[in-house]
């Protein structure tokens, strides 16, 4: 079967076959032919107000569903505006396909109008990228792009398409297979290594599960739960791994790392076998690598062979899909336990493990993550406590970057994966609001919060128009401390409180701002009114903009200072020294 059609139509045909239902984008000169075939097609196009937000929205779509998010921009400035979102997706391994238009292939290299070297610029921003100059290559390339984005370690793929390809005519034939001889996807894991891992874990006296974003990407929550129950190991989950295990699971400690909890960090340092699943020993978690868990034997399961041994040499490396590997591991662990029965060695180990749990629970009791409150002003932690209460572990919460993000990670619990959307690896401000837009389109029935700071919020204001125009019932909660909080914290703690360029004055009146876009907004600053304000926001059927004024100079604790080991946490502000009486 072969049909004559334009390149634009061919692209649409391929997208429809890939199951795309939504594209976030912004048209321009060279993409008009594509927008023409998109007109009134069932694939929905969401017009954003800045291409950067198209990429973030595609990420929000992908992070909340696991499906490939799609964004579209024109040549030159349109494409360059996507780059932050692309690097963000690359760092957090999020599957998105970015479609960009390019000038006529005969004009490439002549500094034509709105020409940019998109292919060159995005080489380091993507898992892979393509420049399509011939219509014969288009269909194959699109299917390849979707395959590369969604397989193995997911990531962003960009396809740059010239205007003459869009406008030209070609014979379309359905693409039966993609040919990528050099692209190897590891799934199964080496049987011998899995066996070694099972033996090591079985014999561990102080096991710990250290899980990351790979568990979410693999959809391995059920398998993880079984492993946790078989080993009865305490669990720490990174920023990207939150939600892989329900927050109220008895084995879940919290997030570890620079702003992780006391218990989580000491558990990482004190374990004898660290079961690292779908995680990459990022510096925010490990801090000083030389001092990180020096006595622990590491079992490292990851789908990307380059991550294994990159920061920490594991005793047992296992390359593969954690969803395929955990059931095999679980089977072996069950067999080992059954074969051993009740020997003195088993009894001794059980006692050691009970002692380990006793120690971990002690750490949790000594320095828990607390919801601080005050009578006079709203504490940021209080806001997070109320967010936890109102989301009930089931709402989608998309955050921006900074102090609010850390408090949210510490204090809001999630009962399932893919509810927590947060930019971790790149830490891109301006992520929260557009990602919530993407998540709302992907999950029309769900309650979606965009929990952002006053800094990040102001980077995304143009998208209030997108929210209003599409009547998206997103609840935007701005944690307003009047400053670029995280930078301010570092300046307070390490730069003698020289607060250079962190005052965010002239924050808009949100009631007027929301009204300007035709929806409701209000400000709350009294602690007693916080719960009611959040409830009203949720009750309101449409979008809502709630500005929560919080204590301005709170610092996120615990904090591992740069270069320190993770057990060298600062737990709170230094105690004031009493003035000696005369």
């Amino acid at each position: 079967m072969s049909t004559l059609m334009s390149g634009a139509k061919m692209l649409l045909e391929c997208l429809a076959r890939e199951g795309v239902d939504c594209i976030f984008g912004y048209p321009g000169g060279v993409t008009i032919p594509f927008y023409d075939v998109l007109y009134e097609h069932r694939i929905r196009h969401v017009l954003v107000r800045h291409e950067e937000n198209a990429a973030f929205a595609a990420e929000g779509y992908a992070r909340s569903t696991g499906k490939v998010g799609v964004c579209c921009a024109t040549s030159g400035p349109g494409a360059t505006n996507l780059t932050t979102g692309l690097v963000d997706a690359l760092m957090d391994s999020i599957p998105i396909v970015a479609l960009t238009g390019q000038v006529n292939s005969k004009l490439i290299g002549s500094d034509a109008f709105q020409e940019g070297d998109t292919f060159g610029i995005t080489r380091s921003c993507t898992k892979h990228n393509y420049l399509v100059k011939r219509i014969e290559d288009l269909a194959q390339t699109i299917h390849e792009a979707f395959y590369v984005a969604s397989s193995g370690r997911p990531g962003p793929v960009l396809v740059d398409i010239t205007k003459d390809v869009f406008q030209g005519q070609g014979h379309y034939q359905p693409v039966a297979a993609v040919h990528l001889p050099g692209y190897k996807v590891f799934t199964e894991g080496h049987t011998g290594q899995i066996r070694r891992a099972a033996q090591l874990i079985h014999e561990a006296e102080r096991p710990l599960v250290y899980g990351g974003g790979g568990l979410i990407a693999a959809g391995a929550s059920q398998e993880l739960r079984e492993t946790v129950e078989l080993t009865d190991a305490p669990v720490v989950l990174t920023l990207l791994g939150l939600g892989a295990l329900p927050a109220d699971h008895p084995n879940f400690i919290s997030m570890p790392g620079m702003h992780g909890s006391y218990a989580a960090n000491l558990a990482l340092m004190g374990c004898d076998v660290m079961i690292a699943l779908g995680t990459r020993f990022d510096d925010r978690v490990t801090s000083k690598l030389a001092a990180f868990a020096p006595h622990a034997k590491v079992v490292h399961v990851d789908i990307d062979p380059a991550e294994i041994g990159k920061n920490r040499a594991p005793e047992v490396p296992i390359v593969g899909d954690v969803k395929r590997i955990l059931p095999k591991l679980n089977r072996l662990l069950t067999e080992l336990a059954a074969a051993e029965g009740k020997t003195p060695a088993a009894e001794k180990r059980s006692a050691a493990r009970r002692a380990w749990w006793h120690q971990v629970r002690g750490w949790k009791r000594e320095h828990p993550l607390e919801v601080a409150t005050s009578e006079t002003e709203i504490m940021p932690q209080h806001l997070m406590g109320e967010m936890d209460r109102i989301s009930r572990g089931k709402a989608i919460v998309s955050t921006d970057v900074g102090q609010h993000q850390m408090w949210a990670a510490q204090l809001i619990g999630f009962s399932e994966p893919r509810l927590w959307l947060s930019s971790g690896g790149l830490g891109s401000m301006g992520f929260g609001l557009p990602a919530a837009i993407g998540a709302q389109f992907a999950n029309p029935g769900k309650l979606v919060f965009a929990l952002v700071g006053d800094g990040g919020f102001q980077m995304s204001i143009p998208e209030l128009s997108t929210i209003a125009g599409n009547a998206l019932p997103i609840k935007i909660v701005v944690m307003n401390n009047g400053h670029l909080g995280m930078v301010r914290q570092w300046q307070t703690l390490f730069y003698n409180n020289r607060l250079s360029a962190v005052q965010l004055d002239c924050f808009p009146d949100v009631e007027k701002l929301a009204a300007a876009y035709g929806f409701k907004g209000t400000t709350v600053e009294k602690p007693a009114e916080l719960r009611g304000a959040l409830e009203e926001a949720v009750r309101e059927p449409g979008p809502y903009l709630l500005c929560v004024k919080v204590a301005q100079m709170e610092n996120v604790y615990p904090m591992v200072p740069a270069g320190a080991a993770i057990n060298e946490m600062v737990l709170g502000p230094p105690e004031p020294v009493a003035v000696p009486s005369k």
Partner: protein, 183 residues
């Protein structure tokens, strides 16, 4: 320390840029790089010499393998391999030294590819260390200008090339077009 990497990759636009971009991005120092087509015109072989510490060596190969255009990345530094390089040296010689220079060239197995009143251009092939010695010797006779090709390497044992088979798309199964407009 110097690591010799041999890459077999798809001969597609941008492949070279991906490799050099990756090396630059990860901060690995490139000593030399050569690339050309293999017997299969769709494939190229690239030989890169990078300066990395021993801890990074494995990482470099792993990062190369991650590139979709790369079919095989081999570390030839310590495995049985032949490493060769070509150098063209233009040397200005005084009349009295001419015969001596020719004798040196002969010792190193070099060929004179140009001769003039000013001097010679001599071509030498060999392992990179030998070429270094030759350049030093020539330098003692007069002004030299040197162009080195960069190291080429070939493994002595053929490594089995494992290529990935085609992956079926879910898209290929549908017969009717998906893009008729709603109206």
């Amino acid at each position: 320390m110097l690591q010799v990497i041999s890459l077999l990759m798809e001969n597609k636009p941008g492949s070279l840029m991906r490799v050099t971009g990756l090396l630059s991005q990860r901060g690995y120092n490139i000593e030399s790089l050569t690339v050309a087509r293999t017997l299969d015109p769709e494939l190229s072989r690239m030989t890169i010499v990078v300066d990395v510490d021993s801890v990074q060596r494995q990482q470099v190969i792993k990062q190369m393998n991650k590139l979709i255009n790369v079919l095989q990345a081999s570390d030839l530094t310590e495995s049985p391999a032949v490493v060769r390089e070509l150098v063209l040296v233009r040397v200005r010689t005084a009349q009295e030294s001419r015969t001596a220079v020719l004798k040196e060239a002969e010792i190193f197995g070099g060929r004179v590819v140009d001769s003039s009143t000013e001097g010679f251009v001599i071509e030498v092939t060999g392992d990179p260390e030998k070429l270094g010695e030759f350049i030093d010797v020539m330098g003692s006779y007069g002004d030299v200008e040197v162009t080195r090709s960069g190291a080429l390497a070939i493994a002595l044992e053929a490594r089995k090339l494992r290529l990935q088979p085609p992956v079926p798309t879910k898209a290929g199964t549908k017969e009717e077009l998906q893009t008729e407009p709603q109206s």
